[in-house]
């Protein structure tokens, strides 16, 4: 399906990516081309076929409900977690003001 620039802007907004008019114009053709090409999947008869959910049979595991069971992913890692934050403040992630 060919998509227009308004649709491109709508998708960009959903994806939280700011785009210029020039980018929207370029993407109109590129995305339409790609979507038109993938639409050949519509010709495959999938009657009675289940969508793939797991490519290799595997059962989902539960771990024991223990605090800090894994030292790498457990708690008390605040400084490590904030180490790469662009604007940490007082031990928290800093963000622009969201309430007036």
């Amino acid at each position: 399906m060919a998509i227009d620039q308004d649709t491109v802007r709508k998708i960009a907004s959903l994806a939280r990516i700011a785009i210029s008019d020039a980018e929207a114009a370029a993407m109109e053709g590129e995305l339409s081309g790609i979507l038109g090409w993938v639409e050949q999947l519509g010709e495959v008869d999938v009657t009675g076929v289940e969508p793939m959910t797991a490519v290799i049979p595997n059962k989902l595991r539960l771990r024991d409900d223990v605090v800090d069971a894994d030292p790498l992913t457990g708690g008390n890692r605040r400084d490590d977690i904030l180490a790469n934050a662009p604007a940490p403040q007082h031990g928290f992630f800093g963000v622009p003001k969201v309430i007036e």
Partner: protein
């Protein structure tokens, strides 16, 4: 002493163990090659000190009699693996300057096995690309050149293009790669080296920057089959931190290597013989069939009827997963933040993502967002997942009559940088032979088999049953022994 950088992983391991050279000598030799190869742009970060430190440890361990499986072997690490204290970027501006405080499971296993790190290898941005031209840190240049005197810069393949170029140029004896839709196999084919993507779930995804989680799988790239087996043994294994990790013992692939294929059946998929197939590729494929027959295998014709739908299904599923995975880059917790004057939270997200992602990454996030959006989800995403079931079923049926499948790795030899960047679709089509095995989660590898008329390497692909990496490696070994591929890129850098 002969040049240590010509040694394979097995030769370095065994030679170090036997006392023929020190690990520090090996690390210094590779560090020198890395430092001398800036023109290839294969590394984003060089870590000579890491390599030397591991080498000193290896030499000490040898003296103490506590050698590890890969003591003394320096490797390259694709910059998609989180490395504690070393910048990890996924070749993106978004993660420029990101220094993880933890180590990926696969890289940790390699360090525990005694490896040292020569550096973080360049790649396509967030592993999205087939030529290494989407990296924020510039193109990797293949060490190979056409024999036409033109010296055109060629693509090393992608997304693991830094890995492939570095191994082919003897900057490292082996490297890690990741393969979502061919990103180990296609670059290996383009540069005359070997690489294996194991069964989905063999290698932990924990600490690997995520692209498409149902497809992403790490694997080794090296100069020969034995080295791939050695590396894979030390990368694979159950990891409770990855929900899709396989809880199975890791076989001793190296010890069980055998090129005797008596009693084995090799399937040749007719759908891979595309109209207008490159004559050199077709000739290489035929030669590969003859080699496997010579090794004792029986060759049978098979059909994988949904092959032509694999690529379009992939270009729905992979972008859909990417659009979800890459939602984490919001300018709040790590990575780039772009905060225009007076902007609120939503504007900060949009500005950060506009600035931090390159054009191909944006394109795929946009496609993924579209196919998952209300009203289109069933027509695109659900349909693609149903087709994926049919593609996996094709392989199941085919493996009823054969043990491994032989096909080309890519439809062409390495192309020139810039040749395919104007049209995203033409780039996507280069993965036509690699993507089906990815969608089915199967082990698959590329082994160098021939040079084309331009003097560029071509690779043969072997696809195996789930969990049968051994069958893939053994068929690869049978080809390696018979192809006698010893060509290497002449040094110009």
């Amino acid at each position: 002493m002969s040049d240590l950088t010509n040694l394979t992983v097995a030769q370095i391991r065994d030679g170090h163990r036997a006392g023929e050279f020190s690990a520090v000598e090996v690390a210094e030799a590779f560090n020198a090659n890395v430092a001398d190869a800036k023109a290839l742009n294969a590394f984003i970060v060089e870590t000579p000190d890491h390599a030397i430190a591991a080498a000193k440890k290896a030499d000490a361990d040898r003296a103490a009699g506590t050698l590890k499986p890969l003591s003394g072997v320096p490797i390259g690490m694709k910059d998609l693996f989180a490395t504690n204290g070393v910048q990890t970027t996924a070749a993106s501006h978004m993660l420029e300057g990101f220094v993880p405080r933890y180590e990926s499971t696969v890289s940790q296993k390699l360090w525990d096995a005694g490896c040292g790190m020569l550096g973080k290898l360049n790649l396509d941005q967030f592993a999205m690309g087939s030529s290494n031209e989407t990296s924020y840190f510039g193109n990797v240049i293949s060490p190979w050149r056409r024999k036409d005197g033109g010296n055109a810069a060629l693509a090393p393949g992608g997304s693991s293009g830094g890995s492939s170029a570095a191994i082919a140029a003897r900057l490292c004896p082996a490297a890690t790669g990741t393969d979502t839709g061919g990103s180990i196999r296609q670059p290996a084919a383009f540069t005359g080296i070997s690489g294996i993507k194991p069964t989905y779930g063999r290698c932990s995804r924990w600490g690997i920057v995520a692209f498409a989680s149902s497809l992403d799988q790490a694997g080794p790239m090296a100069r020969d089959i034995r080295d791939c087996a050695i590396l894979l043994e030390n990368m694979a294994g159950f990891d409770p931190k990855d929900a899709t990790s396989l809880d199975q013992p890791v076989p001793n692939w190296e010890a069980a290597l055998s090129s005797d294929l008596k009693g084995k059946k090799v399937g040749i998929p007719k759908e891979y013989r595309l109209d207008g197939i490159d004559a050199d590729i077709a000739a290489m494929w035929d030669a590969g069939i003859a080699m496997l027959k010579d090794a004792g295998a029986e060759v049978v014709d098979i059909s994988l009827p949904h092959t032509k739908y694999a690529l379009p299904a992939y270009y729905i599923i992979a972008p859909a997963e990417a659009s979800s995975n890459l939602a984490r880059y919001d300018g709040v917790r790590y990575g780039l933040r772009e905060l225009p004057q007076g902007a609120g939270l939503q504007d900060m997200y949009a500005a950060t993502r506009a600035e931090g992602f390159g054009p191909e990454v944006k394109r795929r996030i946009m496609i993924g967002t579209y196919v998952l959006s209300a009203g289109f989800y069933d027509a695109y995403y659900t349909q693609a997942q149903k087709v994926r079931t049919l593609i996996a079923r094709d392989f199941d049926n085919a493996f009823g009559s054969c043990d491994v499948i032989l096909a080309p790795t890519a439809p062409s030899a390495a192309f020139g940088l810039g040749e395919k960047t104007a049209d995203p679709l033409s780039m996507y089509l280069n993965d036509v032979f690699a993507v089906p095995a990815s969608l089915a989660g199967l082990p698959a590898m590329s082994v160098p088999a021939a040079l084309n008329r331009e003097g560029l390497p071509l690779g043969l692909q072997i696809i195996g049953k789930a969990f049968d990496e051994q069958g893939v490696l053994n068929a690869g070994l049978a080809i390696e022994e018979r192809a006698g591929f010893t060509a290497r890129a002449e040094k110009w850098w």
